[in-house]
Structures are given as structure tokens and as C-alpha cells.
Symmetry: C2
């Protein structure tokens, strides 16, 4: 998995070769952050301001952001900034006093979720949320076994890393974590429920193995758009048989909505809703505060009750007055600016454009995804490694001031997930830039 | 340990008895947050604004805050709010692009720590920091055994909870976690190094036990003011023999500075400095962003290197442009407003005042602590439980608009840790209020 983590990462040994102030800044950075420092791009970027889908460097050069899904309602959205500013100046306190703002936000958030999910626990990060969700499931089921997909990423705590194969640099999962194949469609020639049946069979096999090994089955944990696996979204509904099966086997279903949540799929606020399923636990994070550290776990009361009988949980910054003001503003902006519809319309336009590029560029093997979370699987020229070729495309786009990322178990999938306010014109700019880059990097079909 | 967690907690069964809008708000809160909701006080409070050491309710009634150590440079400090506001409006992006502000803050923070600690990893919470620190130690030493004190609290992730005896509601620590007695001084009649020798002996015994049980010795983890144990600070230096011993045994020393850090002890920026020791890993959180979720792990490069060879670590919100702007502003305010000196002067004044109260109130068994982290151990009247009596004191102070908390394995220690900008007059108000409350609750000596 080392390749994925290194994908689109700056090689620090190349720092000195860049020369000048940039080399000096990179040297300082490597000294301060050490081995944990990962910089994007062969020529790292520094930005000083941002708005909408645009990031600006020191020289005022604008870069189209088709990568960052945290500033999901647009960089530095004025309503979100105003809400944060107002609350920061008035009161920024934890959730052990009453606060109408925190309560109103909790109620607004719960109203977006299926009725049985009535309790919310605020945290600061998706990692904290998944860490807590796994413990809720273990406590409730009395079992430890967890099922995740092959290149899943669910966070950076000890417990969340165990269920994040894409973060392993050496070795495999611990024995109580079963890794199954991501639900990849075999394409148009198959019946539409084929991926559903295959994924359910993978889950069934993993449950059998966990039970056979004595770990028991605690939870099926997935990101319903399978982002780090390489983006697998179609057909909507394919998760339903696996979810039904997991529940019949006594496990809990945890929908990790850190990536697909808050309208990204353009279909519904939550990614799992596209699949017609009702999870036992929903975790959320990244776009929830548009950059302010804010995340949550939502579950049924009996699941939270069982946990709290055994261990206390308090999160100092979780659900603070400021976090709530920011989170509420984000929910309101999504509704008032019609960002769900925009993600659907602009996402469909972008996907059609990518499919059109695929007819002219042999490098595009497949276009996947939904709404404004799209994956473009690349086919490298014969002489090149897939991850290296993908990195070359990403770096060439960066030189044309367009920012995207990579995903997939082999690092050969372009990952497109711009702010949800992306316009049709901005989508066209992205398409034109990719067209130019692909033309420059290899011969057409 | 259930008593501690419940201490000063509102009993939700009492909600309806309060009547009116407050009862309705509490009912909504219990419905939304469920079993994980912990409200302070028999009559919960709601605040709407805050400044300096004061919190204001809806009616404009001011409450003196001698409890909250997160808004450490003062609630809603204008310079910190301005830094956050400016950066929120300009750019709020993760740390995989270069950002001079993040780099400058990292360098300023590292400059406050002993030279071997040259790498910083930003996280969002103290829990994330301690979770990472434990994994750094395990990776570097190849061992799992951790030593913590009896009522320690080090965070809310799965891994951090394992080393937080004060968070267990049922059962004890896992086998690789050894719990030792907190370093309580036996008082003035003993030689001043007695507590040091006893604590070192506790650590030695725990190391032997961990090694004997095959867990090996990974880390000695402590909060150098032993806050949740009940505040044990004197004599300065008592940690040195235990630290030397731990290091000789091949373990790492982790100083959890979430409570004593950022000047709280009034002696130095970091609590461990009072003890003349140099930890291998320092974790920090709570006051670092004055309420903005911001935390960090600082360590030696070889320790971070060993970890990063095996697993990747990235924290989406950690060290963002906004987090860095806020954190840097907090460091600057501490220096420019002389908050270290203020914590020393006002803390000493407050401690002397508490000692004077102890001569007049039999309820005060011992006054402990340093700077603006003070513990007042109570002695309940014969008919009362210690934790109940302590809770009565805290609630009576709340009715006089003074906010403090509780600590200690038996929940019988008043915990005083106001913002570092507390004035002498505010300290006197706190003392006068406590005097009145103690006089009203029991007969004097």
C-alpha cells in the first residue's frame, strides 16, 4: 500500500533541486514535521487565500480546486465565516453547559437522518467518530470482528487505523479485521444486481471466517462511495443485500459518511440513502464544518446506552458553541444554495464530459462515481507504471492550475471531488485541462 | 470510578422537577444526546457570552469562571478571535500544501521545548495526541506495557481510554496497562524527596510486573500536575527519579501536557519543566487554541521515523492554516500579557488564601497545586459522603455565580483552574465565596 500514500507526494530528496526560497521553505518544513510530513506535488504549492472553488498563490495565480472536499460549500464561504466569527467573539465553550445553539444544531442534524437514529455524539474528527463507532458496535454486539474493503480508509487513531488497509505500510490487518474486495461493477454487460450479489457474497464469506475464528461479527463498516478504494457508486442500491445479510448475522452496519455525506453524491444528503439502506451507526466529519474541526456519530439510543454503562465519553471541543454555529451554517447553506441539486447537475455534466474524453483518450479506462465524487481509472502506456502515470497526469494538471488527487488500491484512479458549488463553466475548464494534459502525455487511441 | 464521572453531573431524572423552559430544554437535550449527555450542576447553566474570566447567562448575570482551562488566555480573547477571523476569511486548508503560517507556528512551538524534541505532528484533540503518542512509543520500543496513575485521564479514543482509569465505569485496566498510586506527598513531616522515592518505587514495581508478564515496558505516561488524580504538584522535581528509572529500563517517557501546559503552573510554559526532566514525547491540547480544536505531539525525529516506516499518519484538520493562526496567537498572548507571571502571582495569592481558609474551616483537609491549578481536598462532616459533600460545595458556589469543578479518585477534591488572566480581585472574590459557602455548609473547627 506504500504506493498510495506516496502518490502525489513530494519527494523530500528533491527539495534542494528546486532552489531558492521554495527549497528553503521545504527544508524548514521537513525539519519541523519530519517523517510525518507529506506535501502534495513534485513542485509543492503554497496558497494564501481562497474563495468558492479557487485557491490563490502568493502571486495571485488562481488554481481551480477539484480536490478538496472539506471546504464543501466553497472555500471561506461568507455565511459560514460570519457564523464562526460571531460565535467566536461571543462564546466558545464545551457542551456540559446548556446551549441553545448546540441543541438546535443537533436537532437539525438528526432531522436529516432516518428516525431510529435519534442520538448524536459530537466529536472533532472523522477518526474520532469511527473510533467511537467501532467501540459502540463491539459493546453492543459483544463481538470484535469488523469487515472493511481492500483499500478502505477510516481514520488515524489506533483503532481506526486497524480498519484502514490503505494506511498500512507494512503487514496486513489484525486477525479480527477481515478485508474484502471493493464492490467493483463488472460493467454494462452484466445484470445490474451483479455487483450487489458479489459484494453480499464477500460479506457472507467474511462473516463466516470471523465467526469460525472466534472473533464474532461486530460490524460491517463502509464508505458508501468507496472513495479510497477507487470510487464505486453504481448501481445505486447495490449495498442493500450485503447490509441485510450483515444484520441477519447479528452485526451492526456502520455507514462512514465522512466522504459521501453532506450532499456530495447529489442524490441525497447521505450517501447510504442512495442504496436504500438504514445503518445502525452513521459517522460523519470532513465537510461538516467546511474546515472547522467538527464531526459526529449518530446512532440508536440503545446502542449508546450500552456503551455508556461501561465507559464514559466526553469530547472537550465536540459540539462546542462555535462548532455548532459553524455546522448549522453549513447545513443551511447546503439547503439554501441548492448544493445538492448543483452537485447532481454539475456532477452529471462532468461525468458526461469525462466519458466523452474516454472516447478520445485510450488512457481513460473507466469513468465512475456520482454527483461531485468522480473517479477516472487510468490505463498507463505500456512502458509506464499505473501509479506513476496517474501522478504525471495530476502534476501536469497542477502545472495548468487545476488540482485533483488519486485513489484506488493501485493508485491509478484520478479522484475528482471539488467543492459542491462547482459551476458548469468550472467543470468545462477542468475537462478542457484534462483533455490537454492527456493529449500531451500519450498518443490517443 | 462511577462516582467521579457522575460528580457535579445533573441527574436527568430531576429534569421535570425544574419545570418551565429549563425543563423543556433539558428534555430536548437528553433526547438528542442520550446517555452520553453529561450536564454540570443540579441546576444546569446556559451561557450566551463570555469575556476574560466571566461567563454571562441569558439574563446578563455574570459567573466567575474558575473551572475552564480551555479558554486559557481568557474567554473570547480579542487577539485570538481576530487571528481566527482573519484566517477563516482568507484560507482554511490542510497541511499538505505549504503554508508559511503553519510553518512559523510549528517553529515557534518547537522553540519552547527542549532541543531533542524537534518534530511536531499537529492533531485536533489531546485524545488524538495521546493515541498517537502511545503508538509512537509502542513502535519505537517494540513493547506494549504502559504505566499510568490510579485516577489518570488521558483521552477518549479506544487506546487513550485504556490508559484512563478515571473513565472506566466497570472493570479494570487491560493487562498491559499497570496502574500505580498517584504521587501524593505525605506532608511536611517527611523529607522533601520522600514522594519522589515512593513514586520511583511504584514505577519500578510496575516495570518489573510488565516485564514479568511478557508485555514489556513501552511508556511511563503522566500528566505532571496529576490533575484528575486530585492535583499533586509538590515538591517540584519529584518526577525526576521515576523518569530516570523508566529511561534506564528502556521505556519512553510521555509528558501529557494537556492540563499543565501553556503556562498553567506559572513556573514554566510546560509542567514537566518544573520537575527538571526531559520527556521523549510531549502531548498537548485543550488550551492550545483557546477553544479552537488544536493539539499536537512533539517528539524526537528517530521516534517519528520508526512509526512512519510502518504506518502513515495524516490529520485533515491538524495544523490547518486557521489552527496555526489561532495557536500562534495564543502563544503570543501568553508572552505579551505576561500570563506565566500572572499565573504564578495570582496562583500563589489564591493558594495562600485557601490555606488561610483551611485554618478556619475543618472541611478543608489540604490545599495543593501550583500556579493556577489548585486542588482543595475536602473532609466531609461525619454524616456525609466525601463526593456528595464536594458536590454540595460546588453547587452552592454555582448558586453564588462561581464555577469550579471536582477531581480525585474519591471525588473529594475541589478543582480550581481559572483562565490564566485571573486578577487578584477575582481570586479574592473566589475566596470570599468559598468562605461563605463552607460556613453555610458545616460548623467550623
Amino acid at each position: 500500500m506504500k504506493e498510495i500514500l506516496a502518490l502525489n507526494a513530494f519527494d523530500r530528496r528533491a527539495g534542494a533541486a528546486l532552489g531558492g526560497p521554495l527549497a528553503h521553505q521545504i527544508e524548514r518544513r521537513c525539519r519541523a514535521f519530519g517523517a510525518a510530513s507529506v506535501l502534495f506535488y513534485d513542485r509543492p504549492l503554497e496558497f494564501v487565500r481562497a474563495a468558492g472553488c479557487w485557491l490563490y498563490d502568493r502571486d495571485g495565480v488562481a488554481h481551480l480546486d477539484a480536490y478538496n472536499n472539506v471546504p464543501s460549500v466553497g472555500h471561506c464561504h461568507p455565511r459560514v465565516v460570519a457564523a464562526a466569527t460571531r460565535q467566536l467573539a461571543a462564546l466558545n465553550i464545551h457542551n456540559r453547559y446548556l446551549h441553545e445553539g448546540t441543541l438546535a444544531f443537533a436537532e437539525a442534524l438528526l432531522a436529516t437522518l432516518p428516525a431510529p437514529l435519534r442520538n448524536v455524539t459530537f466529536t472533532c474528527t472523522g477518526s474520532e467518530s469511527n473510533d467511537l463507532a467501532l467501540r459502540l458496535a463491539a459493546q453492543f454486539t459483544g463481538a470484535r470482528g469488523v469487515i472493511v474493503t481492500a483499500a478502505a480508509y477510516h481514520g488515524n487513531t489506533a483503532l481506526a487505523t486497524e480498519v484502514s488497509p490503505s494506511a498500512y505500510r507494512r503487514g496486513g490487518p489484525p486477525p479480527h479485521v477481515r478485508v474484502i474486495a471493493a464492490p467493483r461493477s463488472t460493467g454494462g454487460s452484466q445484470p445490474s444486481d451483479d455487483v450487489a450479489a458479489r459484494f453480499a457474497a464477500e460479506v457472507a464469506g467474511a462473516i463466516d471466517a470471523l465467526q469460525g475464528d472466534g472473533h464474532g461479527f461486530s460490524a460491517l463498516l463502509f464508505d458508501s462511495i468507496f472513495s479510497s478504494d477507487g470510487v464505486f457508486a453504481e448501481p445505486a442500491g447495490f449495498l442493500a443485500p450485503a447490509v441485510a445479510l450483515a444484520r441477519r448475522a447479528g452485526g451492526l452496519v456502520i455507514a462512514d459518511e465522512v466522504q459521501p455525506g453532506f450532499g456530495r453524491t447529489g442524490t441525497a444528503l447521505w450517501g447510504f440513502q442512495r442504496h436504500g439502506i438504514a445503518p445502525d451507526i452513521v459517522t460523519m466529519g470532513k465537510p461538516m464544518g467546511n474546515g472547522y474541526p467538527l464531526a459526529a456519530v449518530v446512532t440508536r439510543p440503545e446502542i449508546l446506552d450500552a456503551f455508556c454503562e461501561n465507559v464514559g465519553y466526553f469530547n472537550t471541543f465536540g459540539g462546542s458553541a462555535v462548532a455548532a454555529a459553524v455546522g448549522h451554517a453549513v447545513l443551511e447553506v447546503i439547503a439554501q444554495e441548492g448544493l445538492l441539486a448543483n452537485a447532481a447537475v454539475v456532477g452529471a455534466h462532468l461525468k458526461r464530459g469525462l466519458e466523452a474524453l474516454a472516447t478520445r483518450h485510450a488512457a481513460i479506462a473507466e469513468v465512475r462515481g456520482v454527483g461531485l465524487y468522480l473517479g477516472v481509472e487510468l490505463r498507463a502506456p505500456a512502458s509506464q507504471d499505473g501509479a506513476q502515470f496517474t501522478s504525471a497526469v495530476i502534476n501536469a494538471l497542477r502545472e495548468r492550475q487545476v488540482l485533483i488527487g488519486a485513489a484506488g488500491a493501485r493508485g491509478n484512479v484520478l479522484k475528482l471531488r471539488p467543492p459542491l458549488c462547482l459551476s458548469l463553466a468550472e467543470a468545462d475548464l477542468l475537462l478542457a485541462s484534462l483533455d490537454t494534459v492527456l493529449a500531451s502525455l500519450q498518443v490517443g487511441p
